[in-house]
């Protein structure tokens, strides 16, 4: 299948890019691993599952409009929506090629892709809107069942209408903790507390920017009201520094932190709970732009993000990026960037943009400034490394304790995170560093007495296979229209000499 534009990700940014481009007459393919459009932000249960539709959710009306537009374009044949399709690699062809990009799609593990699945898509331009996932920080006991990421608890609720636990502790940093806690409390959980590691009172000195984003504030005030109604305590300058239990979490130790997040002596207490929702911001999914060679930078929140220009163009011709990929900023910013990317692609491919984008540019600037303010107020402070013990796992998949990472860097010559990964095995397991990449890069740099830079973060973000691929699917070349040629598959063949 060949289209003018391929959009990766059907969250706010990808949806906006796809419908904007399609509205100008471009033929678009929208590829998404999820079963339903919306991404993580507009995650919703399937129609079979009774429960809240999105009406109560912030921004739902806009999402509903986009979803209707998508349905219209799909019906008209302008958008092909490939739900449940994971991209494992994007191949860039020479600039002379008419369709510069080949997206390789496949199953996501050990089960063969279904016969109806599309295996390969070609496109003239590419918009990467792959979104982000939670950014947890390790602490003793964070691998106990019942400890979930904040987004994980949210996904359980939004996608399957399941409450993470009866007694839940919410902790981490950032405004995202509020909707998570409010959602849990509204759904019947007893939220034992929300522990915000930062002291976002500092936020006040950015008053002017905050006021210009009154919408976001009202949203926050709404969650605060829910927490108040459910008598959920909200404590700043506190964090979960350990989780306890044998085969599942039974309690957590919450500590008061100083400004750098070093626990204050005597400021600890133990809270019984059966679930934990913890998150310290988000990590954008960068494997595809990194592999394509798109320039990256370290954003204000410490995440590796893709560099884009005013038209959402990356440094690689024909590749655009929008949403969290270019810097974590929330759904309204993602929608705006997605629209701008859709317009830019349309202009580049010769279709006239549907409407002038000055309003969108102003909106993007305002929302980015607001995001920068939040990143500043909710930054990860270095003292978290002090929560770790030598036996605390840094890498959950390969069960690499902090002591082994420390040994690799101090004793075995692993002076950068990539070498630390190769020698300690942190980041070498199933998740390929998606979860432990950020802490591993931070800890390695910290032991080397420096701040993590682009190279450090890239060392654990480079994943040439963007998704697991079943070997049986990989072995079949869809372009060849069948199985591998007999010569290539023959294990024996010629003699040794």
């Amino acid at each position: 299948m060949t289209r003018d534009l391929a959009v990766i990700g059907a969250g706010p940014a990808g949806l906006a890019a796809a419908v904007t481009a399609a509205a100008t007459g471009l033929r678009v393919v929208l590829v998404d691993a999820g079963a339903r459009p919306g991404g993580q932000y507009f995650r919703h249960p399937p129609d079979t599952l009774a429960g809240p539709r999105g009406a109560a959710r912030h921004g739902w009306a806009e999402f509903a409009r986009l979803r209707d537009e998508l349905a219209g374009h799909v019906a008209a044949g302008r958008i092909t929506h490939l739900a449940g399709h994971a991209v494992w690699h994007v191949e860039a062809h020479s600039e002379e090629a008419d369709a510069r990009f080949t997206l390789h799609l496949g199953g996501t593990g050990s089960v063969a892709v279904s016969s109806g699945a599309v295996r390969e898509v070609r496109a003239r331009a590419l918009v990467i809107a792959a979104g982000a996932h939670d950014r947890p920080l390790p602490f003793p006991g964070w691998d106990l069942p019942g400890v979930l990421t904040a987004g994980g608890a949210q996904a359980l609720l939004k996608g399957s209408l399941v409450v993470a636990g009866r007694r839940v502790v919410v902790a981490g940093t950032g405004p995202f903790l509020l909707p998570v806690a409010a959602g849990l409390a509204s759904a019947g959980a007893r939220v034992e507390g929300v522990f915000e590691a930062n002291r976002p009172g500092r936020f006040a000195r950015h008053g002017a920017r905050v006021l210009r984003n009154a919408g976001k504030l009202a949203e926050g005030a709404g969650y605060a009201a829910v927490l108040l109604r459910h008598r959920v305590p909200y404590r700043v300058g506190h964090a979960i520094v350990a989780a306890h239990g044998d085969d599942a979490v039974e309690s957590v130790t919450v500590a008061r932190l100083d400004r750098d997040w070093t626990p204050v002596r005597g400021g600890e207490r133990v809270i019984e709970c059966d679930a934990v929702a913890v998150g310290y911001g988000f990590t954008p999914q960068l494997e595809i732009p990194v592999e394509l060679g798109c320039a990256t930078r370290v954003d204000a929140d410490g995440s590796l993000v893709v560099v884009v220009d005013a038209a959402q163009r990356t440094s690689v011709p024909g590749v655009y990026a929008a949403g969290e990929t270019t810097g974590v900023g929330g759904a309204p910013l993602a929608l705006t960037e997605g629209r701008l990317a859709g317009q830019a692609v349309a202009a580049a491919l010769g279709a006239p943009p549907a409407r002038p984008s000055r309003r969108l540019l102003a909106r993007r600037a305002r929302l980015r400034a607001f995001a920068a303010t939040l990143h500043d107020a909710y930054a990860v402070r270095p003292g978290w490394a002090g929560w770790l013990r030598p036996d605390t796992l840094v890498c959950r998949c390969e069960e690499v304790p902090y002591g082994r990472l420390d040994e690799a860097v101090r004793e075995l010559g692993a002076i950068d995170p990539r070498a630390a990964k190769l020698i300690s095995r942190a980041g070498m397991g199933w998740c390929q560093g998606r979860i432990c990449g950020y802490p591993t890069a931070c800890l390695t740099a910290r032991i080397r007495k420096r701040a993590p830079d682009v190279a450090d973060l890239t060392g654990l973000a480079r994943r040439p296979l963007a998704q697991p691929v079943r070997l049986g699917d990989l072995a079949e070349d869809p372009a060849a229209g069948g199985a591998e040629d007999a010569d290539g598959a023959d294990p024996g063949g010629g003699g040794p000499c």
């Binding site: 690699h89 191949e91 075995l412 010559g413 070498a419 397991g429 390929q432 024996g492 003699g495 000499c497």
Partner: protein, 399 residues
Amino acid sequence: MVRGCARRRQCDILLRVPTRDLLVVGAGVVGAACAYYAAKAGLTVTVVDRGAVAGGTTGAGEGNLLVSDKEPGAELDLALLSARLWRDLAAEHGDEVEYEAKGGLVVAATAPGMAGLERLAAHQRAAGVRAEVVAATDLRDLEPHLAPGLAGGMFYPQDAQVQPMLAAAHLLRAARDRHGARLWTGVTVTGVTRAGDRVTGVRTDRGDIAAGAVVNAAGTWGGEIAALAGVRVPVLPRRGFILVTEPLPPMIRHKVYAAEYVGDVASDSAGLETSPVVEGTKAGTVLIGASRERVGFDRTLSTVVLRRLAAQAIALFPVLADVAAIRTYCGFRPYCPDHLPVIGPDPRAPGLLHACGHEGAGIGLAAATGHLLAQVLTGADPALDLSPFRPDRFAEVPS
């Protein structure tokens, strides 16, 4: 005795200025082994690398210590010596470097292929290799998941494996902690210092380092270090991809490969060659290779290569079809035109020794390389004739 003359000639070059201090350029497994054996022999050793330990080709290797894939000759002699030395190293560091004396199994699909294997094995046995014929009916006793219908195989009990990054790191650590070597990572060599013809140290981005002798263990980048000293050592990159599966229970016990792998290893073709090489690791992942192509230092993922690797591995082990690949990486084998490494003093630049160009066998050959250079540096008779590996063996390119 001819060999003795060659050895004396090589040693003479160095002994003009006896040295007690050595600078090793490169902290890959070859540099690590050079540092380890030299420091153990009493030399004062400093290792520099522009990156981290095992950051180059070592970090992209599978860790094979093979005798099975080598035809009789200088490289096989080197591999046999290395296999013995690795066994000694494993006695002390075996767990740290994940040494596994797993053995290699070469399989043939056809009767002529099997006959070829038997011919090769006969020659190898004469050189000291242990090789045991495996009848078709016995293949699955060795490897229960092998495809049916193979003609037979050859089992090589001397083949072994280490985790290459850990091997480099722990050899360097032992050189440092037990024998006083120093390791400077993140230091880039920018030139050499000389007194007359003689190399007296290196220039780096952090200042000059004087040394009685300098070992070029820069792997695929060995040609560049040689050029800094004004000599030509033609080391070129030959790209290889590896596919890594999800962690699995022990399913594949040996290093298993098909007969044509030996031919590909020795091939001069610049085009893509792939042959199935499959092995399990202590970490549970299965490594799938091997591809060879000369494309410079291009790291772009090749779906053509990956598809062929997957198809060939499944042809050997059908059970792999339902297993997920979770990672792939490529590396650049340091390749010389005659497929032999460059080991020994460089008569064109006294004070400079080379230990590079080991192609895809660097992990395996590292121990012998380090051991032999330490012998040369301490004035002992090297255990093997180094003349096949001499740095000035390549025809000069007309300018």
